[in-house]
């Protein structure tokens, strides 16, 4: 029998829920058992009560966890009714979630220099990883971006890591380089000094990063997003087409070896 998902049911209470950029919120929840179980790259599947016609949970990545305080911080974009209801949660609000889901990033043993590339709401999982790598003494360079400067998240946090080079890009040039984040990422990769690349963001962005990493001969992992019903391997809806066949993002991902991804 394959191993069941590590996800368990956790009740949580909202500690804070604040807007950090245009359409993007930071949610801090109190969920002690979850906080000590999560690993960078894993996700949680959150129940958002308040509308009996919207039943499925919403899968979200997390940006940091504090095992001592028992808290987990999640950044989410307000894109539909569920996340809109979520953005109105006040401290003290209670709900539950299933997590941690899937497996996280797997930077190679002995990795000395890594590059993380995040786009839009794909920044949190790579920031989470960057923090872990930096604390393990890995030099981490970061390329990240958003459609515009007001939607950009993570600048302060990446700077706070105090290591490596930081490159910012926005589609409209209102912050950093005007254009896609893939351009500065490809430039850095061409320098050839990396052991590992991790990326999360729009499919087209990740596929370009993966291409550049492959040409540079660097191992690259990507965190993929799919429509998901259960999040623990029962429904077969979050499929990713890989060179090894169809794989569920919830159990075999959400982090995949980028060279194995066929459809982004």
């Amino acid at each position: 029998m394959p191993s069941p998902s590590p996800a368990r049911m956790h009740d949580f209470e909202v500690v804070s829920n604040e807007k950090i950029a245009e359409g993007i919120f930071s949610l801090v929840i109190l969920a002690p058992r979850l906080a000590s179980a999560l690993k960078p790259g894993q996700f949680v599947n959150i129940r958002i009560p308040g509308d009996a016609s919207e039943l499925l949970r919403i899968p979200l990545s997390y940006v940091s966890s504090d095992a001592e305080a028992g808290t987990v911080e999640l950044w989410y974009a307000v894109v539909g009714n569920g996340t809109r209801r979520m953005s109105a949660w006040e401290p003290g609000f209670k709900s539950d979630l299933l997590g941690p889901g899937g497996h996280g990033w797997s930077a190679p043993e002995g990795c000395r220099r890594a590059l993380v590339v995040g786009g839009g709401i794909g920044v949190p999982p790579v920031l989470c990883l960057a923090r872990e790598l930096a604390s393990a003494g890995v030099r981490v360079d970061a390329c990240f971006g958003a459609a515009s400067g007001d939607k950009l998240v993570g600048v302060h946090e990446f700077e706070g890591l105090g290591c490596g080079e930081i490159r910012i890009a926005t589609d409209d040039g209102t912050a950093g380089f005007a254009g896609f984040v893939t351009e500065p990422a490809s430039e850095l990769l061409a320098s050839g000094a990396y052991d590992y690349v991790a990326t999360c963001g729009p499919g087209i962005m990740m596929s370009k990063v993966a291409e550049a990493a492959t040409s540079a001969g660097v191992f690259c992992e990507a965190s993929l997003e799919r429509m998901m019903s259960c999040g623990f391997g029962a429904c077969s809806t979050c499929n990713v087409e890989t060179t090894d066949g169809m794989k569920g993002a919830c159990m075999c991902g959400p982090v995949f070896d980028a060279t194995k991804v066929v459809v982004w």
Binding site: M1, P2, P4, S5, A7, R8, M9, R47, A52, S53, E54, L55, L56, R57, L98, R226, M227, M228, S229, C230, F232, G233, A234, C235, S236, T237, C238, N239, V240, E241, G245, M246, V263
Partner: protein, 302 residues
């Protein structure tokens, strides 16, 4: 609470809808699966199927729509990888019904032959002639009395073990009668309902195909009506499926004539929903003042 679903002796009427409960092991750390009367495993064919491309799911008001397309590893890998856990579940008192998939009568027969040989622990088999998401087989052959009967006739020759048919939500009375005449031991009513969801901004389907299978509580009243039609049309038992979220939803199926009830989408949201629904159903049966749930099957009055 024990019921006899066409020769499958269930300790209580709660079953799981195929495709919503994996092969059971996915739930092993989230609930006590052995509390259920039965589970029905995800459809499996003689050879592995990749299923449809992404996206395979979109949420709709009051439910969801999927176009998974019966992704499965093939019966051999199914029996090898999941068989030991499912055999243990059977020993723990929960019956296992394996769903059989195919693109043609020959493929159903081949898959069923393999199941009969490789899954001695299975209490019975459910023939899926109603998947709305595959180009051949599925609903393409189960939506007429003739097509459904042909598959059932061929499968009946393979085994004496209990055989059930997962029915498409069309022409219930006549197809139910045709299946009974060909020796079906029971009927599972209903499979997901063909639907469409369009993103009006991109003008594209919200799934990778134009249509998908609609499921969840929005389907429940339709499923209750179809269970009632099936139960009135035939003498073989019916398993009610469609949007069961509470014990009262399950009770409606029982009153409409179902002998057992399968929980579907609810398990995605609340993995142990089936156990909660079982307890709520028990409370309801008690509130009705009966000693045996069988007294309530078909006890609906107009």
């Amino acid at each position: 609470m024990a019921v006899d679903f066409g020769g499958v002796k269930m300790k209580n009427p709660i079953n799981t809808a195929s495709g919503t409960f994996g092969q059971g092991w996915q739930f092993s750390e989230l609930m006590d699966v052995s509390q259920l009367g039965a589970i029905t495993t995800k459809g499996c064919a003689a050879e592995p199927w990749p299923g449809n491309p992404a996206p395979r799911m979109t949420e709709v008001r009051g439910g969801m729509m999927n176009s998974v397309g019966l992704q499965n590893p093939g019966v051999e890998a199914f029996a090898r990888d999941y068989g030991p856990w499912l055999a243990d579940l059977t020993d723990a008192g929960t019956q296992v019904i394996c769903q059989v998939a195919g693109h043609s009568t020959e493929e159903y027969v081949r898959a069923l032959e393999m199941f009969c040989e490789l899954t001695p622990w299975a209490a019975g088999f459910e023939i899926n002639v109603s998947c709305p998401n595959i180009a051949a087989g599925g609903a393409a052959c189960g939506s007429t009395p003739e097509g459904a009967a042909e598959v059932m006739r061929a499968c009946r020759k393979v085994t004496d073990r209990p055989l059930f048919v997962k029915m498409a939500p069309v022409r219930i009375p006549e197809i139910a009668r045709a299946l009974e005449a060909e020796g079906a031991d029971g009927l599972t009513v209903i499979n997901s309902i063909p639907g469409m969801a369009i993103d009006v901004h991109t003008r594209r389907s919200k799934l990778s195909k134009p249509t998908g299978g609609l499921s969840g509580p929005l389907c429940h009243p339709i499923a209750v009506r179809m269970v009632w039609e099936a139960a009135n049309a035939v003498d073989i038992p019916v398993c009610g499926v469609g949007g069961v979220m509470t014990g009262e939803d399950a009770a409606e199926f029982i009153l409409a004539g179902a002998c057992c009830v399968a929980v579907g989408m609810a398990s995605f949201i609340e993995p142990d929903a089936s156990v909660r629904i079982l307890h709520e159903l028990e409370e309801w049966a008690e509130s009705q003042g009966v000693r045996d749930i069988n007294e309530l099957i078909g006890a609906f009055e107009c």
